[in-house]
Symmetry: D2
Subunit: 282 residues, 4 copies
Amino acid sequence: MTDSTSTSTAPIRVTVWGENRHEQINPVVRGIYPEGMHTTIADGIRGLLGDEATVTTRVLDDPEHGMTEETLAATDVLLWWGHTAHEEVTDEVVERIQRHVLEGMGIIVLHSGHHSKIFRRLMGTTCSLRWRNDGSDRELVWTVSPRHPIAEGVPQPLVIPGQEMYGEFFDIPDPDELIFLSTFTGGEVFRSGITYRRGYGRVFYFSPGDEVYPVYHNPGVQRVIANGVRWARPTRERESYLVTPMYLPGEFDRPVLTDENGGLIDYYTREPVAVRGEGAAS
Amino acid sequence: MTDSTSTSTAPIRVTVWGENRHEQINPVVRGIYPEGMHTTIADGIRGLLGDEATVTTRVLDDPEHGMTEETLAATDVLLWWGHTAHEEVTDEVVERIQRHVLEGMGIIVLHSGHHSKIFRRLMGTTCSLRWRNDGSDRELVWTVSPRHPIAEGVPQPLVIPGQEMYGEFFDIPDPDELIFLSTFTGGEVFRSGITYRRGYGRVFYFSPGDEVYPVYHNPGVQRVIANGVRWARPTRERESYLVTPMYLPGEFDRPVLTDENGGLIDYYTREPVAVRGEGAAS
Amino acid sequence: MTDSTSTSTAPIRVTVWGENRHEQINPVVRGIYPEGMHTTIADGIRGLLGDEATVTTRVLDDPEHGMTEETLAATDVLLWWGHTAHEEVTDEVVERIQRHVLEGMGIIVLHSGHHSKIFRRLMGTTCSLRWRNDGSDRELVWTVSPRHPIAEGVPQPLVIPGQEMYGEFFDIPDPDELIFLSTFTGGEVFRSGITYRRGYGRVFYFSPGDEVYPVYHNPGVQRVIANGVRWARPTRERESYLVTPMYLPGEFDRPVLTDENGGLIDYYTREPVAVRGEGAAS
Amino acid sequence: MTDSTSTSTAPIRVTVWGENRHEQINPVVRGIYPEGMHTTIADGIRGLLGDEATVTTRVLDDPEHGMTEETLAATDVLLWWGHTAHEEVTDEVVERIQRHVLEGMGIIVLHSGHHSKIFRRLMGTTCSLRWRNDGSDRELVWTVSPRHPIAEGVPQPLVIPGQEMYGEFFDIPDPDELIFLSTFTGGEVFRSGITYRRGYGRVFYFSPGDEVYPVYHNPGVQRVIANGVRWARPTRERESYLVTPMYLPGEFDRPVLTDENGGLIDYYTREPVAVRGEGAAS
């Protein structure tokens, strides 16, 4: 008999979040992404993952920025692209997203999302970097972890003809995994593909994607993002760890709480508990 | 001639922050720590580091919780013990402390401080754990990084006769360094000594220290904390990285900003800048 | 259209290597493992993975210890249990196994295999530890990375009623991932489930498994090992990286070598190469 | 009273090992390094550390390659530069050096030493990389861990006008710490400053230093190397961990061995031992 707990066949539920502001005001961006960057990103995932994923999109101007409890509860992997309006995202929504990540939802943060509230909240640092965007730079994305699933099928290097320069020092915690390093025409370097675990959720940051270049039409970039979706998907049900459970000696699998009188109650059922062995003794 | 940039001889400026609530209401705690836990912790550091450090204390009920801009600017290493009143610490003060850590201040978080706002802010996770406090547990602190400076002079294992049990799963990011692992009489295990870098600052979490046991009178515990102070001290001036600087091609060491007309101005002086080589050309 | 490069459906080719010496001379061990420990380990994998894996066994006394070039080339994941006869394994075979790991073969090292030549070769350290085996210890295996695929379906904690004590300091490089920590009745602690990447191959060390206890009959231990097999399987063809390739400027994807006259030859075909663009120029 | 266990004032005993072959046969190299590369490297350390260090040199053609037991026992930090004659270094000497590292000696491996026997032994991987050496490359060394002691006083970036290109994929274990990343004119990237702990010793690899460029005359490179010496110095006596000690329950600090009759003998004195408490009981 075969145990198959780890090979789920249900489609990955992907939600692509786009700020969708540059597209409204900058004709260059609208020319590259007539339906919005989020749509192009979503189409790239659909094209590569097919039936393996169901992909929807949300934007900043949706009610609650589209990040309702219902949407997040039905999202396996969230992608996040924001830039000019980070401060418009409410703290309440940021906390909600963070909670879902800690409970198991995967998140992929793209490009200027390095300065988003949700990424800085998950990292604990400024997430600042050096940059330049004067049309002078080609980005080369080099793989330094060649057998990582996110690097599968990615050229060495992945060439992005035009891109904004992002450079070190990038003020992040040391990544759990360093997958990609990027260089730029000006000679700068950047840790452009990095992963973290936060709580029960997986985090992938991938830096290519300035809005004035057609980066999300690039097949190699699409390949990385689709791989990231596969990698970040949770393998188990969402689970909360906000309350710290108490355990009696030897009762490794039975958390308890105390009621107002100091009596022990079951963590899950909230019923009074008898300690194992006590029944026999009394 | 000798370069000595890294061997500062100025005393380490240490501030010990104590919540100081249990001491006021619980006679057991007051019996162990008549002057407050923060005082005992501070005395332990003074006893081991002598002239190497100057140690002061602050408590929750001080104005601004004692964590004013002036105090933090004059602190090299901050120690934090809190438990019952985490929520009373204002968000403004938490952000101020976080900023100082990211700019270079060291921080040592003790025991129940795992659930403090500042630690959760720096970690990005729930920092929850399993626990038990019924007087049944001895804690053994085992060193797994024997040549780490924080482990210097610490017995293998360090025996703490009575302690609250803290057990895994401890919901933290993977530590940069794992120094100590603790076991308890009930058979549980805990990552009890861990370090992180956040921005330009160093973070050390050390879990022994429940208020109803005389843990901070234990010479081995005092040794760990004094070592931690040495390790967490910054070696350079505090430095902000909140604004992301722009760099022109080849101008690796000269960040610029743009003024309201799109003109380039120097990042530090805010004066208009001429790009190198341009002067010669014009 | 769906790209499915990462979801191979071919069975995982598993080879379980057993030293098979204790079973010949110690009636206690023979009583627990009448067909040898390797057979029980192999049966455990078959029982849990079914058609997902094909499992064979090899022992020390096979020609070339059963580790021929042919066998290794046809192995996706190798399991290694040795104890009393580490020094009998020839250096030639150890180098061959190491080469296959670096080229992509997964390896799972069990229990006393911590002191095997192959494990020490991959680690670069002594891999020494503290120990005790007097029948007094129960081992509790605690998960500290609850969403890691190797921890899937493993109880928290996994209880092993009788086991040899392995304790810290365990002289290993800092693991890439720390999955399990074990405690023992005597109060000791051990990093009992750890992973490393070496070259293109994955390494998993799991410490339970002294020969005088029925550890490999334990369903939880079998679960960990089966999960480890899934995790360690390579997702791509084996690939050698022994020769360092030279690259001309801009020729990112075309390595070259120099012939005896200093002329450039193709790394793969060994044919003379013309540099891109040169043809047009001449 | 001040405890000062961690602030040793004795000079760091540094040994610089040079292969010293290119200097004999290549006039370009001899022109840059008339006294050998090892002499220039040693002079750079002397110039920056002054009385803080005593520096000597050894070369491949010394008896036992200069790496006698006596020399290694009197070395706190060993620097290693080799290239064309890695295979001439005997396995016996390599094992001796490895043993000293595991017992606490620091080691700094430079440039083409990535393929030396000692580095590959400590890493467990091929340590292969991509390269180019046609005079077309400038190397920029970027700091990604700005408060690491090895990065102190190093310009951002450190510019090396002429250098061999070393590029990714670099087949190494994931570093404990990533300090420097280098880019090259051709657009390649390399993890050029990395650290590892192996046993009780510290390992630092720094990649600049091809013999046909005056790299070790560069003040920034000298600064990095001097910082590395300070960082890699051991803070305690050398200590062996080759034999795995046995411990009785509760006897955490007293390892024992068994004699030929199965009796317990003290690990250090080899005298018979009485278990604690037994004397009182009998």
